[in-house]
């Protein structure tokens, strides 16, 4: 299995909500010998099914240049985009705007898992068998708090950062008390926006905090999606996690 270093950012599009990347190479200013542009940057946008939806090419003129790149809508309305460029080391941003303001978070410099054919086949068969009982192969685990109030909540955007089908089991609860669970099937390089209200009850007042335990059979990551009283039809924020 290979893990090529990959920088990625999540994306979401909705009617009336523009999603744009903010690309720069600010760090290049501090690298003697590598600080002179232009810098060529390639972006690949994957849709929720994991298919390449769009490709973009951007040129940064120098180490202080910053370019807005609006992303086009694609199947599923969410996914992630990979960004590559020689000596591109800076953190990059993804923004969500209603035209008046924008919310923003940064991407992640991690990796995409590439499994060879035999491993993909084995994972697929084992994953299907486990799924019959509502389970997955818990090779990777993450824990994440989510927040649910009457007029705000944090949904979860799940990103399958691998070339295999990733069955992600999600257990929701508080302390040792579990109140909900679900099993999601994300295609290779695919994504899923999990509505937390499908797992958790809305509190009568205040903000309830719940813990999600997420288990997947391949590498995955997540971003929180902040929503106000209009929920997913209103302004949103994307938020990185540890």
């Amino acid at each position: 299995m290979k893990r090529p270093p990959t920088y990625y950012l999540p994306w979401i599009t909705r009617p009336g909500l523009e999603c744009a990347l903010l690309l720069s190479n600010v760090e290049a200013r501090f690298k003697p010998g590598f600080s002179v542009g232009p810098f060529s940057v390639s972006i690949v946008q994957y849709d929720a099914r994991g298919a390449v939806a769009h490709r973009y090419q951007v040129t940064l003129q120098d180490g202080t240049d910053a370019v807005d790149l609006p992303l086009r809508p694609a199947v599923g309305g969410c996914g992630f985009a990979t960004v590559s460029g020689e000596r591109l080391r800076s953190d990059l941003y993804v923004t969500l705007s209603d035209g008046h303001d924008y919310t923003v978070t940064h991407g992640r410099g991690e990796f995409i898992e590439g499994y060879p054919g035999v491993s993909r086949l084995l994972l697929s068969v084992a994953g299907m068998l486990a799924a019959l009982g509502g389970y997955t192969l818990p090779i990777f685990r993450r824990n994440q708090y989510v927040y649910l109030g009457r007029d705000s909540r944090s949904h979860v955007l799940l990103l399958n950062l691998s070339n295999v089908t990733n069955r992600i089991r999600i257990l929701a609860g508080r302390g040792r008390h579990r109140i909900g669970s679900t099993l999601l099937r994300l295609p290779p390089m695919g994504s899923h926006l999990l509505d937390v209200t499908s797992l958790l009850p809305e509190p009568a007042d205040g903000t309830a905090v719940w813990r999600l335990e997420l288990q997947g059979n391949a590498w995955f990551n997540l971003y929180l999606v902040g929503a106000g009283f209009q929920d997913l039809a209103g302004p949103l924020s994307l938020m990185h996690v540890k």
Binding site: L22, V26, Y102, N143, G228, M239
Partner: protein
């Protein structure tokens, strides 16, 4: 790990004092000291917080400990068991003003001392931070909120804002435990704000802040980036 954030009245502000949480519930803090300071550095309170907890309701903590009406700097001094935590995970927090049309925010609390190993071992300047903005035009009002966690000496902070090729410099001096919000003009000579840089002699608490023009609700509350380590 010494980290700090700012509490403003009217916000639902929940802080995850420990982020990771395994099935055995071993990954707890050894100790946690919380201190609250006003803008001029006066110690308002040192409320007790159970280090075995998961989440701290910052609004309740500040309301129950002080009668402050203005912004409060909240300092977290967290100690970890080295055997369990080989690194120091940032505290994360959820931030939203009830009944606001703005979406909630989720952010990493700014670590001033400690944090990930390359920060702990930083031998070069780690107090030069950068943040970039979309050109817009957008309506939001931007600022940086800065705090000094030094015990004895004030710190002089330089704030540089960039508008096209033009650079505007501001300076602010922060005595120990003081904090200030410094506004960033959205435009200068018809050029939009594109970048802010902060320089100081030692590491300070720093957040870049964006507020909706109509309601003042927070749309951005995030750390800047350190590119020189």
């Amino acid at each position: 790990m010494l980290s700090a954030t700012f509490y403003e009245r009217g916000y639902d502000h929940q802080v995850e004092i420990i982020h990771q949480h395994d099935a055995e519930a071993r990954r707890r803090l050894e100790s946690l000291q919380v201190s609250l300071y006003d803008r001029d550095g006066a110690l308002l309170a040192t409320p007790r917080v159970d280090p075995a907890g998961d989440i701290v309701d910052l609004g309740a903590l500040v309301r129950d400990s002080t009668d402050a009406r203005e912004r409060v700097m909240v300092v977290f001094d967290a100690r970890y068991d080295e055997a369990i935590f080989p690194y120091r995970p940032h505290h994360y927090a959820y931030l939203h003003r009830p009944r606001s049309p703005a979406p909630p925010l989720y952010y990493a609390i700014n670590a001033v001392l400690g944090g990930v190993p390359d920060r702990v071992g930083a031998t070069h300047i780690n107090n030069f931070e950068t943040y970039v903005f979309r050109r817009g035009p957008f309506d939001a009002r931007y600022s940086v909120v800065l705090g000094c966690l030094a015990r004895f000496v004030p710190v002089q902070v330089q704030i540089f804002t960039y508008y096209g090729a033009k650079r505007i410099a501001q300076e602010v001096t922060l005595p120990p435990k003081c904090h200030r919000e410094v506004d960033l003009a959205p435009e200068h000579e018809s050029e939009r704000l594109i970048r802010v840089e902060i320089k100081a002699l030692f590491r300070i608490v720093s957040y870049v802040v964006g507020r909706r023009a109509d309601t003042g609700d927070l749309m951005l509350f995030d750390h800047l980036f350190t590119y020189v380590k």
